[in-house]
């Protein structure tokens, strides 16, 4: 059932287990491309639970995750003389949390990139996440979770989250994978890759991440893209310039370096290496 492409470290595993046991939301942060969003999808698959995704944007309001009252449709129906207009619950649109709460089995809820929303957004969800219930003002009913869902929240650190919100969550920071973990991840994605190519690619990649002053460090997903290109072109390991001397720009570097300043910086470094060689 589970996707063998996704590697969960022990630390993360333990964090998820704790969140499951104690039924608390798990807030996940980490560099872009470390699989924060993927985590929720993966957990849902492994638990064989339904997954409800809520992708937050700058305009998202907290109540949209609970329900929305579609006044415009009701107005239209009233003017057209539709019978549905008499029952207000026809115009209550269920949000992600509503669906998750009323689900018969334990669900997984993903609140993706919570930091994108307004500063007040997390505060507006405090009660709902704490008690796992909310009131519907229009119909005067209370929706309570049949089974407390596992809530995974991801953040990219664009805004500070309020303390009151943080207190109610578990927090895990996904670290950038170290070399052995990275090797596992790659093996899961490309089991047939040539060992020498893999080794050189990893060396180049981790060296690149260590270059000081890079505007954007390449991430896991970029490494995977890059490898895909390399495998597709069936390049030899030597073409990557992973030898001791680092004298050439690696092939297809466009997959790793995403702005021209970084490429310039890297070219300058190579130039320096060449000079030192003489």
């Amino acid at each position: 059932m589970s996707n063998p492409d996704y590697i969960i470290t022990d630390e993360l595993q333990q964090a998820v287990d704790a969140a499951l046991t104690l039924e608390r939301p798990l807030l996940v942060k980490g560099e872009p491309g470390t699989g924060k969003t993927q985590l929720a999808i993966e957990i849902a698959q492994r638990l064989d639970a339904p997954l409800f995704q809520w992708h937050v944007k700058s305009t998202t309001r907290a109540h949209q995750g609970l329900y929305e009252y579609d006044a415009v449709s009701r107005l239209r129906d009233s003017q057209l003389g539709d019978d549905r207009v008499n029952n207000i619950s026809n115009y209550i649109l269920h949000g992600v949390l509503w669906d998750a709460f009323t689900c018969d089995q334990r669900a997984v809820v993903l609140i993706d990139e919570i930091d994108k929303a307004d500063i007040e957004f997390p505060n507006d969800l405090l009660q709902e996440l704490d008690r796992m219930s909310f009131n519907v003002y229009e119909t005067r009913e209370t929706i309570t979770a049949k089974q407390r869902p596992l809530v995974i929240i991801t953040s990219n650190n664009e805004k500070e989250l309020p303390d009151a919100f943080l207190r109610r969550c578990f927090f895990h920071y996904i670290e950038f994978p170290d070399k052995p973990t990275m090797a596992k991840i790659i093996a899961a994605h490309y089991p047939t890759v040539k060992q020498d190519l893999l080794k050189s690619a990893m060396d180049v990649f981790f060296d690149l991440r260590d270059v000081p002053g890079l505007k954007k460090k390449p991430s896991t997903s970029e490494l995977l893209d890059w490898l895909k290109l390399l495998i597709a072109d069936d390049l030899p390991a030597e073409a990557l310039g992973a030898d001791e001397l680092r004298t050439i720009l690696p092939q297809m570097h466009g997959a790793l370096l995403k702005n021209e300043q970084d490429v310039h910086l890297f070219e300058r470094l190579i130039f320096l290496h060449k000079q030192r060689q003489r």
Partner: protein, 402 residues
């Protein structure tokens, strides 16, 4: 024992709350994070620390507290009946068990002695020479949680491996470090003040719906102005001299502020504010603007931020003619007070490490002039500064008749 650990964390300035501590206990009573110290470390971090920039400090405190007590921890789990771990509900102990604990001199006492003994033994064994002493890593003097220095990365010792928290992998994430543009932007963003003014040219959908409903279904369109960030910022940069060392940092702050605020004005000064500032550093001698004009031009709504290392001779601040570049009729301090009287919301950001502040007389003087509204040019510093900017300064009355 855990409570002790908790107070340890609080003392180190980590913002852990009682709720979180109770969560930790609840978890332990559900057998989460109890198998070994490593698991406990991960679980405690999960529960208590909500910011990766505090991971490093947590690692240090954890190391400091549990060094030499690992065995105590393991023992507490092996030799003790499972019920004892459920300390969350203290009443759960049976009378027999209580008596047993008492006969050993009480739980805490027992563990304490054991831990102490273990630690002593270790010290002796190694002669204490393998430990590395450092004076803590936070250069910005966040109180420092141990003035004597922290033991870090002690290796070996009864053949145990280096633990996760000893590796201090999260050192780079410490919030007290200086950061790049992006992080500055995030910090500056909290200065936002969103308001709607100007021409109402956007459809207010919710307002229209509400008004229409009140109008019994007849369309009543409501318009409103777009939301804009209405905060005005005036930046005064110190350039030249000792500021050259901080150029890169100031550049980052400047570019972050430029993208973050629409209404951003900036001028330069050298060392301290006198009667003139300038916009273009190349033509600084011909193309200046007087501070009086600055005060007339920009309303008191502007948030004034000085950026400078405040490192100079004290005369440059307090004396007439103290400036190194020209003869100033009035002391810089007076000009500073005039600025403060007009721009009540002002702070000073100092790229110099706060360790040096007390020992540099001019920084002390300026800090006093700013009524302690001086902060380091780091993310934490900016956050504090922005918090301070919300309230205006109470300027001292000028003694002369200006």
């Amino acid at each position: 024992m855990l409570l002790d650990f908790f107070t340890h964390l609080r003392k180190a300035g980590l913002p852990v709350s009682t709720t979180e501590h109770l969560q930790l206990l609840e978890g332990l009573s559900h057998d989460v994070g109890v198998l070994d110290l490593n698991k406990f470390y991960l679980f405690a971090r999960l529960c208590l620390i909500k910011d990766e920039s505090l991971y490093d400090r947590f690692d240090q405190v954890f190391q400091d507290y549990w060094a030499g007590r690992e065995a105590a921890f393991d023992l507490s789990l092996d030799a003790i009946p499972d019920d004892w771990l459920k300390l969350a509900d203290k009443d759960a102990l049976t009378e027999e068990q209580k008596a047993l604990v008492e006969s050993m001199g009480g739980w805490d006492k027992l563990m304490e002695t054991l831990a102490k003994r273990l630690e002593e033994q270790k010290e002796e064994h190694h002669g204490g020479s393998k430990w590395i002493g450092t004076r803590g890593t936070s250069p910005f003097g966040h109180g420092g949680f141990n003035p004597e220095g922290v033991r870090i990365g002690g290796k070996g010792g009864q053949g145990r491996a280096v633990k996760v928290w000893e590796q201090r992998r999260y050192k780079d994430l410490d919030g007290t470090r200086e950061l790049g543009t992006r992080d500055f932007k995030v910090a500056l963003r909290s200065l936002r003040r969103l308001t709607r003014d100007g021409r109402p040219d956007k459809l207010d959908l919710n307002g229209t719906i509400r008004a229409t409903a009140q109008n019994a279904g007849l369309l009543d369109i409501k318009m409103r102005a777009e939301r804009r960030n209405a905060v005005n910022v005036l930046l005064l940069f110190d350039v030249g001299g000792s500021m050259d060392y901080h150029t890169a940092l100031c550049e980052q702050l400047f570019s972050a502020a430029r993208t973050e605020f629409k209404h951003l004005e900036y001028y330069y000064f050298h060392n301290f504010t006198y009667e003139k500032v300038w916009r273009n550093n190349n033509r600084r001698h011909n193309d200046t603007i007087s501070v009086q004009e600055l005060i007339r031009t920009y309303g008191s709504k502007y948030r004034l931020i000085f950026v400078g290392d405040a490192t100079m001779s004290p005369y440059e601040v307090v004396a007439e003619g103290g400036s190194v570049e020209h003869w100033n009729q009035e002391a810089g301090a007076i000009w500073m007070q005039r600025l403060q009287q007009h721009f009540g919301h002002c702070v000073w950001l100092n790229p110099e490490k706060s360790d040096y502040w007390e020992t540099t007389p001019s920084i002390r003087i300026i800090r006093e002039l700013m009524q302690n509204r001086m902060f380091t040019l780091s993310v934490n510093g900016i956050q504090d500064a922005i918090e301070t900017l919300k309230t205006p300064i109470q300027p001292k009355l000028l003694t002369d008749n200006s």
